[in-house]
């Protein structure tokens, strides 16, 4: 079953076309990598899917809701973790969880129970009462991810979730993504770390607002006769008129 379907989606800012007529679909439970150089249009495309930006043209549905009309319903059905760190630094760990749980309508007692289980799992139980700003960046990112799927959404959108994080933490972060995927959550992730692309079930590579390639990492490497996703990406990005890399 397709949880994301997009047809001819376009976003223009003035005369600049950030996303140019893209079409793709994502299956339930998939880890879908959305790659591209800075400025290739991946964040813009993702924002349209989450109901943060209105498409200039084209149609699409997320979790069964139309992105042009039902953005409020989409918002209740998805999780989102932005590129910028988005937890409240002046709130404690449990207060952040409580806030988002409350916003998504998780019942209070259930939320309290899940909070303890989550912190246990993350090994953050002793930091429950700490302010988020006192946590190291890697921990915050892991916490932010956990908060974004706390209400058990069907799909989670991750916008460059591992930016600025050390390799060990990135590894752990991907383990968390796998776990979420196993529990049935579809993961839509943008990144520009090519090693991370290898972890995805399928990846699309955006160049200048268009989808230049879309397939599983193994097939893409075969098609381009490349050793790694990094090679594939370099070959595609070289065609970019905007410079890309």
């Amino acid at each position: 079953m397709k949880v994301i379907e997009v047809e001819n989606l376009t976003k223009r800012f003035g005369i600049f076309t950030a996303v140019d007529n893209i079409s793709f679909s994502v299956e339930r439970g998939e880890i879908f990598g959305f790659l591209g150089a800075n400025g290739a249009g991946k964040t813009t495309a993702m924002k349209m899917l989450c109901g943060l930006l209105r498409p200039s043209a084209g149609k699409g549905s997320v979790a069964g809701f139309d992105i042009n009309r039902d953005s409020d319903k989409i918002k209740a059905a998805i999780g989102y973790m932005s590129q910028k760190f988005a937890l409240y630094e002046d709130l404690k760990v449990w207060e952040n969880i409580r806030l988002y749980a409350g916003i998504y309508g998780v019942p209070e007692r259930e939320a309290a129970r899940r909070t303890d289980a989550l912190l246990e799992e993350l090994g953050l139980s002793h930091e429950k009462e700490s302010l988020v700003k006192s946590l190291p960046l890697g921990w915050r990112q892991k916490l932010a991810f956990s908060v974004s799927i706390f209400h058990r959404p069907g799909i989670v959108f991750l916008d460059e979730p591992t930016g600025g994080v050390d390799p060990v933490t990135r590894r752990q972060f991907w383990e968390m993504i796998y776990k979420a995927s196993e529990s049935g959550i579809t993961v839509f992730v943008t990144t520009h770390y090519m090693d991370e692309a290898e972890y995805c079930n399928r990846v699309s590579i955006m160049v200048d607002g268009r989808i230049a390639a879309l397939d599983s990492p193994a097939l893409l490497k075969k098609e381009y006769g490349a050793e790694s996703m990094d090679d594939v990406f370099r070959r595609l990005a070289r065609k970019s008129v905007n410079g890309g890399l």
């Binding site: 109901g51 209105r54 409020d72 998805i78 002046d90 749980a101 409350g102 916003i103």
Partner: protein, 366 residues
Amino acid sequence: MLKYLLEKEFKQFFRNKALPKMAVIMPFMAILIFPLVANFEIKNISLAVVDNDKSSTSRELIQKVAAGGYFSISEVASTYTHALRSVELDKSDIIMEIPAHLERDLQREGSSEILISANAVSATKGGLGSAYLAGIIGDFNKEINGNISTVVADSFTITPRFWYNPRLLYTYFMVPALMVMVLAMVCGFLPALNIVGEKESGTIEQINVTPVTRLSFILSKLLPYWIIGFVVLTISFFAAWIAYGLTPAGNLGTIYLFAALFVLAFSGFGLVISNYATTLQQAMFMMFFFVLTFIFMSGLYTPVANMPRWAQNLSIISPLKYIIIVLRQVYLKGSTFTELLTPFWMLTAFAIFFNGWAVLSYRKKS
């Protein structure tokens, strides 16, 4: 949903190092300190005297001026030019030149002319100083006429009182208006800056992808500051009562009603700013620009009736003007609601206008 958002706002407010303290200190600063320093009462005016007459009358006049407490004789100059030099050197503020033959003219013709010239760089000091001086001279004039007509003391009754007690009246005039300023800061500035702060830190983007409606988001920003605003206003009432024995002559309920309306209007204005600003710097600058305009147009310092016609027309756009009118009227004159219908409708119009604009200009998606 709103419950959780409000909980968050209050936690953040009270966890902030500066805000709760500021909220308590500000009303005390505004009520106890500002009226004393922001005061138009003119004291210690340095007076240069040019006495061309050197008669007993002129000496008496100079003595009277010096004894009034407002003027200190900084210079007794032989010519006007010398006196002017002393003004140029900033030693004197005002020159009083007594013409030659003052005494003779007064006795023979019953009139004479005294020249007052004032350094008007500080227009208030110059203007009020020369008005004080003219008043003293006027008093003196009456006394002399009394002497000349040799009428005895009992017809020498009370003259209309030029000298009000400027300090007392000015404080009473200022305090209600300063309460408005405090309210405007807490309920207009703080929520707007708070929202822009969330834009800057990126947390608003996270909220925007949640099912939080724009109404609950905005209410979660406004309600806490409305509550804090009313606490602060109440502290101001107590501060004014303790410090100056100033209590409202009218109904306290009327004040709260109008304050609520003003707060609604002014926080709507803050929201409009927060919708257009993307950084705190922009928001601060826009806020200051408009708030300063509102203040100067509001009659806080200078009565609106004193302004030129075009400025009076412009002053209708200042919501501060109406609430200041209300607080002064209720506090000092004891006006009731029915006498305050104009401010009521104007504030209602502002509330609708700003909040309508805020809702229209707020976009969860672009």
